[in-house]
Amino acid sequence: MFKKFSSEDVSAQNQVKASVQRRIRQSIADEYPGLEPVLDDLLPKKAPLIVAKCQNHLNLVLVNNVPLFFNIRDGPYMPTLRLLHQYPNIMKKLQVDRGAIKFVLAGANVMCPGLTSPGGALDNEVEAETPVAIMAEGKQHALAIGFTKMSAKDIKTINKGIGVDNMHYLNDGLWKMERLD
């Protein structure tokens, strides 16, 4: 999704009004209860919250010009990888095997066999259509953020095709955009 992405793709960015700001905070807090203690640091109540609208109905939530979250249409907010690296335990994790890393880093969606093979790991509680962190065999940090297409159980039983859509991965356009001015 962010394979080709640069500040040029941002069509408008504006400071959102307080009520919208509250709604964004609320939905992020609901989505990531693990973030709650630090949410005040991440999204200070005082600092202006900026939402950048981009192509393909994509919204970026910026604080101090640093992109922290993104969402599509009215979908769930997902943290950027830099943020996820700082607070790795806020999302459910799926692990892919070593062979898949290369493809995920090229922007491919995660296929079921990469998750079910010996190098992969699944969290059984993951439902379909939820944002997840994609970890890799033998690595400490997340390499991508995905949006599941099937529940973990289905991934195991069907074991074919796309299991997780790749939303945001290391070294994609959003990763390279550390700041947006």
Binding site: K3, S6, E8, G34, E36, P37, V38, D41, H85, Q86, Y87, P88, N89, I101, K102, L105, A106, G107, K139, Q140, H141, L143, L170, N171, W175, K176
Partner: protein
Amino acid sequence: MAEKPQPVRVLYCAVCTLPAEYCEFGPDFEKCKPWLIQNAPDLYPDLTKESSTKDVDKVTEQLQSTGIASTASSAPKEEAVKRLPGGKMKKKEKAEVVIEKVVRNKRKCITTVKGLDLFGVKLSDASKKLGKKFATGASVVKGPTEKEQIDVQGDISYDIVDFITETWRDVPETAIFFIEDGKKVPAA
């Protein structure tokens, strides 16, 4: 309030910006190697073994060259064609100034100057100077593809070349091109 979880500090490679452990899957692992040996030796034990046996000096040398003068002669062949993530090749952008005359309602035209920023010229200053010199409106405009260009009102292509070469000594006359009938013509 519950205790705040401390943010994890992740070691990011200075060369390719990935977390150090993903360097091996990064765009250019070879270039990251010297940095990794210095900053994250435990992640890639093979690397340090390799280097300690013979060429520690070479590695540090390499590090300096990648850090300071990556465009220098160290690897000219690799520099010229930069690899994009999709495996596509991208040619390095040549620094040149392209001047184009765009006609609007028949007898009026706009001269656009592209690429001055590649010579380290500040576009806002440049547009001001151009406007002053030719006594017309001149503005910095976002071009079609993320490039910024200067639009000057009126047909000034006749002496803009002299003006550019005189005001900005870094810009050689050979790097200035006109676009005539969709073709690039060197100004010199």
